[in-house]
């Protein structure tokens, strides 16, 4: 039985803004799921509906077999880690973490013990008597986490919990959150707009676009097989290239990008000849081909800009019709051996048909 079932959940705000649009999904116990989308896409509203801070306009929320759609937040077995941490400024760390238990009448000694355990699991026992304002951002984050897990919720909701931290700390906390998840085996729902965070942390990613879940799958699945140019471009980087179908050839679709011919996978959908399509191609799955021998499966473009990225070199090209196109060249052991093309130079790029994802050019537009 799923631990959380969302059925046709809908939420409209004043002014007819549909924040959550007929969303349904089910979570298994112990899953780590990410709601990923840009700001304003409705992902935080979904979380707030599950927590009970917002009342839904339609649909059902079933938590652990119980319909909680109309239950107030204080009667739902979920806990939230807030984006701004929401620590009580007038209480010590210890009192913050033990707050819920203390007030619901759990014996003093038990509260103390569970607070210690919770603080131990976030490695913050020595700060038990500090006030939140004496702590660093990362430490506040841990207190918020300890406070949210102490009641052993059925589902833990995390609303952009790492967005206020600097990059190094954020990456460390991502790993730590994963470890905590593996230890607790509580279902986690993380809301984030950071696609890297989503890929690193979750078992399952749900991509949200305008109040709807447009794709749900494992990080690899989402990365390799995006269902739309939107998803392809939002997760990682993708070149979206307009092309026209020319025909079929030995199990491949042949497309035309300007004068160049690219073979692409057939995909589940049959495209008519001369149908407009969009090709999504990841910059890191490309390599430079021999100079100017414009053979099949090759694009040619003019170098507009080169960006050194540490472990790779990004070439920004203009291909047929001026379409921008990025290529990442891995920089191996010897940086000196690679002679990066100069700006203005024309280069040929080999595109493996397997690395192209084809979308319908008319629907996507």
């Amino acid at each position: 039985m799923p631990i959380l079932e969302i059925e046709h959940l809908t939420k409209t705000f004043a002014g007819d803004i549909v924040a959550v649009d007929d969303v349904s999904f089910a979570l298994e116990e112990g899953e780590f799921v990410t709601l990923l989308g840009p700001s304003g896409c409705g992902k935080t509203t979904m979380l707030r509906l599950i927590a009970g801070f917002e009342a839904s306009d339609g649909g059902r929320i079933v938590l652990n077999g119980r319909d909680v759609t109309d239950e107030p937040p204080y009667r739902r077995e979920v806990n939230t880690v807030f984006q701004d941490y929401a620590l009580f400024p007038h209480m010590t760390v210890k009192d913050n973490v033990g707050y819920g238990l203390r007030i619901s009448g759990v014996p003093r000694a038990e509260v103390a013990e569970r607070v210690r355990d919770a603080l131990q699991s976030v490695d913050l026992v020595d700060k038990a008597d500090s006030r939140p304002m004496e702590l660093s951002g990362g430490q506040r984050q841990r207190v918020a986490l300890a406070r949210a897990i102490i009641r052993h919720p059925k589902v833990l909701l995390l609303d952009e919990p790492l967005s206020a931290l600097d990059v190094k700390l954020r990456e460390a906390m991502q790993i730590e959150l994963r470890h905590l998840h593996q230890k607790l085996r509580i279902t986690f729902i993380l809301v984030t707009h950071d696609q890297k965070e989503a890929l690193v942390m979750s078992d399952r990613v749900m991509v949200v676009e305008r109040g709807r879940i447009v794709q749900s799958g494992t990080p690899t699945d989402i990365y390799e097989h995006p269902v739309s140019p939107y998803v392809a471009d939002f997760i990682g980087t993708a070149n979206i290239v307009p092309a026209t179908v020319v025909g079929r050839e030995s199990g491949h679709l042949v497309t035309a990008v300007g004068d160049a011919r690219l073979r692409a996978p057939l995909g589940p959908k049959g495209f008519e000849a001369s149908a407009p399509v969009l090709l999504a191609i990841r910059p890191e799955k490309l390599r430079l081909s021999g100079p100017k021998d414009a053979k099949a499966d090759c694009l040619t473009g003019t170098v507009v800009e080169t960006l050194f990225q540490g472990n790779s070199l990004r070439l920004k090209l203009a291909i047929a019709g001026g379409t921008p196109f990025a290529v990442d060249l891995p920089l191996g052991a010897a940086l000196d051996e690679v002679a990066p093309p100069a700006i203005g130079e024309t280069v040929a790029i080999a595109v493996d048909p397997a690395n192209i994802v084809v979308f319908d050019g008319e629907v996507a537009r």
């Binding site: 927590a51 801070f53 204080y74 806990n79 939230t80 984006q83 701004d84 400024p89 707050y99």
Partner: protein
Amino acid sequence: MRLTAHRRLNSLAVLALPLAWTLLFMIVPYAIMLAYSFFRKQGFTFVPDFNLANYALLIKDPQYREVLQRTLKIALTVSLSAMVLAYPLAYFIAFKISSQRVRLFLYMMVIIPLWVSYLLRAYIWKTILGSEGVLNSFLVWTGVISEPTPLLLYNQFSMVLTLTYIFVPFMFMPIYTALEKIPRSLIEASWDLGVDPLRTFLKVTLPLSVPGLLAGFTFTFCLSFGDFIAPFLVGGPTGTLVANVVQSQFGIAFNWPLGAAISMVILLIVITIISISDRFERAGRIDMG
């Protein structure tokens, strides 16, 4: 070195005017008042014969003690009534009104009476509560009472009512400010941790609004403690407050030294209240960041 000296001179120049103003219109008058409180009245002149007789009289004569106690009681009643009225209103406006514009409008509605003359606002209660007043006419008309009652006006009740009405905005403003500063996520966090709204109020909202309550209480208490117009207009014979005694000592009784001594006692009480509340506020100051 020269630079520091230069800077010091500059800051002195900036501060000179306000400092002179404070000195001339605050410190000097208080000093004169303090000096007078040690003078002695002789016929129709005041002799600078330094003694504590005025203060001794205030302690010995029970009528002064009585007035002081009555004033403390009235000021306390007014402050508590204003708190009881202002807190729910401030809470309602801060938490239950989601539209920013409506919130501002309601806030202004509470504040606007402050722009009307104080005298007018006190006087108006005379026309409401008097024997020929609006309230009496209404009660007679509805048949609750058969003839107008004089019980509504010229007593401590009418005085508390008037003072509460006049000073309620001073209670409302700091409470509202304190409540509005509380991040909504704190309240949601409390619910999230299984705590119902009533206990969330008692454990989170109320403690975090204490600075506003303290400030409001201090304002209201000190303002009503020193008031002499409301008792004069609606207080009646049993409603004389300490400020009225000061007024009469400087006026009809023509005993400036005694009046000055009473003023000093009032000043002492008010300063004590302010410094206590300041200390509490400091101790409980909370960084919302």
